[in-house]
């Protein structure tokens, strides 16, 4: 579909897509690439293999509890991508639907949806996620749910304003004059024209979701026993890896988070150029 196509010549978008492809591959083949991340390792002399530096056996060293950092990083890719993608899909689906309905039909639907959006936007982000995790349990689904509930209004508002201008465009009027139903107009004339915008917000939401999940885990409200980049940072922080200078522990997950978030922004930039070609010149 044309609307989905990125400008093939945009180097940043290519970098972004490449980063995603690599992380996807890692997440997919994580079991082959890594060992059990929670296995406690011992040295040949029977001592706990704690706080080791990088070596051939443990490329990124071990944690203070003797776990393989490399394996945690690789397995953590999965939860990052699962959270990022499901949250992004939820945000985009909710936001696009709400934006389309309120922008196209206006009136009461618009009033209700936009007031809901205002309320959602008024809720402080992290506290809400933490409270939700506390009440519903610290599970990945709840983190995703919280992100979806809080991030949809941004997408919805932008989609709505785009729909408002589209609604006044000649070709939408033309469709009305030729007897197209509202649903057909939305499906054929409005939705395809806002799809790149949805994807722009989706690619931003992936980064946001991963960042949020990491923050929540880092603050210790994440799903217990799970392996994620945020949880790794949390462990590193709690065991004072920073003051010990165990860069091999806290730098890799940090870099991975930054890479995924940045990749999302690079791709969204590519979509921006599809949407607003003038940015290029």
């Amino acid at each position: 579909m044309r609307a989905l196509r990125l400008p093939s010549g945009d180097p940043l978008a290519i970098i972004g897509v490449t980063i995603y492809v690599v992380f996807f591959a890692v997440a997919l083949f994580a079991d082959l690439l890594a060992k059990d991340p929670l296995e406690i390792l011992f040295l040949d002399d029977g001592n706990l293999a704690a706080n080791l530096g990088p070596s051939a056996a443990y490329p990124l060293g071990t944690t203070n509890l003797g776990r393989d950092i490399y394996s945690q990083l690789v397995i953590g890719t999965r939860s990052a991508l699962v959270v990022g993608l499901t949250a992004a899909i939820a945000v985009v689906a909710l936001g696009t639907l709400a934006g389309l309905l309120s922008g196209y039909f206006g009136g009461l639907a618009d009033q209700i949806l936009m007031r809901l959006a205002d309320i959602a936007l008024g809720i402080p982000f992290l506290p809400f996620v933490i409270v939700l995790a506390a009440f519903l349990g610290a599970r990945t689904e709840n983190v995703v749910l919280a992100i979806a509930v809080l991030l949809w209004p941004n997408t919805a508002r932008v989609i709505r304003s785009q729909v408002l201008t589209l609604r006044e465009r000649g070709f939408v009027e033309a469709a009305r004059v030729s007897g197209a139903s509202d649903w057909r107009i939305i499906r054929v004339h409005v939705a395809p024209n806002i799809l790149p915008l949805s994807l722009l917000y989706g690619s931003i939401a992936i980064g946001w979701a991963i960042l949020t999940e990491a923050s929540v885990s880092f603050l210790g409200f994440g799903p217990s026993g799970s392996v994620s980049w945020g949880a790794m940072l949390q462990d590193a922080y709690a065991s004072q890896a920073l003051s010990r200078g165990s860069y091999n522990w806290f730098v890799p997950p940090g870099v991975c988070i930054v890479l995924v978030v940045v990749a999302g922004f690079f791709i969204s930039r590519g979509y921006e150029e599809v949407l607003f070609p003038k940015l290029k010149d």
């Binding site: 044309r2 609307a3 465009r169 000649g170 070709f171 009027e173 033309a174 469709a175 009305r176 004059v177 030729s178 007897g179 197209a180 139903s181 057909r184 054929v188 004339h189 395809p192 024209n193």
Partner: protein, 340 residues
């Protein structure tokens, strides 16, 4: 002869943004875009609807196509009363009446190929898919566009003139009987305008279309329409055969409008316009004639009472106290710039 388009008391008021005082007082101010307009159009006739921006001509066109609902008044087109039209008769109406847009660059969905844009009305009207290709071929011949490769192109790959032909084709593909053309050439370059205008003239004849041609340009209206209605701030002020309107305008506004049109020649009148300084403002129209504040011939009565649109001669109407007073029209033809 029975009218094909029958409009009585057509009015449309749009709400305007309220200031704080109005909100507190609970007022709902409106601007009257169209004020109690009456007219008939017989089948096969092309009528020009002339006026300046904000005079209500575009709103009138949209009312006639049921794209907006009137605040008051009734419209009948063919056998259909537009008020309350829905369901199957509404779908029939959508096949019967079509719109040609001002901006061809905006009238076609940029993400859809030309061929699909042309098929859209057929899909909406549930024309069997097998017939689509033939219908498209026929209509493209009508608008003089050749080359089937064109159907696979996107709008941005085409010139304005070509696009306007496609827009016209899309309007004609369901074989409508009634067309509203809203400034169809104002966005086009001069060299291609003539092609579209000629095409519209020709189609009116060959397809027997009834058409309303909305424009601010009297020269263009004259080229396509034998009858012209002039609007000023929502009201019809003059109606008659185009040549009569140009040569013996009855309303002082029409007179000023004609005098203001520049001609593509060196020798032309550069006299001051027969107008008093003042600006048209739809929000400030009171009880009197809307044009009174700019009218050089305004009398005391003009400020108090709006002149009705009266029939001066068969097919010739004007809304001016000078005209109503002595029947034939008080404005001396000598005051009108000779234009031919």
């Amino acid at each position: 002869m029975d009218a094909y388009v029958h409009v009585r008391g057509l009015s449309k008021a749009f709400p305007v943004r309220r200031n704080l005082g109005q909100v507190l007082r609970g007022e709902h101010p409106v601007v009257h875009a169209v004020r109690a307009v009456d007219f008939d159009i017989v089948a096969g006739e092309t009528v020009g609807l002339l006026g300046e921006s904000g005079c209500g001509k575009t709103t009138t066109g949209r009312l006639l196509l049921k794209l907006v609902e009137p605040s008051a008044g009734a419209i009948r087109i063919g056998t259909k009363r537009l008020s309350g039209l829905s369901g199957s008769p509404m779908r029939d109406f959508r096949r019967e009446a079509q719109l040609v847009f001002q901006n061809p660059f905006d009238a076609l969905n940029p993400r859809i190929q030309i061929g699909r844009s042309l098929a859209e009305p057929l899909i909406n009207a549930a024309v069997p898919r097998a017939e689509h290709a033939d219908r498209i071929k026929v209509v493209l011949e009508r608008v003089r566009v050749r080359g089937t490769d064109l159907l696979e192109r996107y709008p941005h790959e085409m010139s304005g003139g070509q696009l306007q032909r496609i827009v016209l084709a899309r309007a004609l593909i369901l074989e409508p009987r009634f067309i509203v053309a809203d400034e169809p050439v104002s966005m086009l370059d001069v060299s291609v305008r003539a092609g579209i205008l000629n095409l519209m003239r020709e189609l009116q004849d060959t397809m027997g279309l009834t058409a309303i041609y909305i424009s601010h340009d009297l020269a263009l209206v004259r080229y396509v329409a034998r009858r012209t209605m002039v609007m000023y701030l929502g009201s019809l002020v003059e109606d008659g055969p185009t040549e009569d309107v140009i040569h013996t305008p009855l309303h002082p506004y029409t007179r000023a409008l004609i005098a203001a049109v520049p001609l593509p020649r060196v020798s032309q009148s550069r006299d001051p316009l027969p107008l008093k300084p003042g600006t048209p403002d739809a929000r400030k129209v009171g009880a009197g004639c809307a044009f009174a504040n700019r009218c050089p011939l305004a009398m005391p009565i003009c400020l108090e009472q709006a002149p009705p649109l009266v029939t001066v001669a068969p097919g010739r109407r004007a809304a001016c106290h000078l005209v109503s007073a002595d029947g034939a029209g008080g404005i001396q033809p000598s005051a009108v710039r000779s234009v031919s």
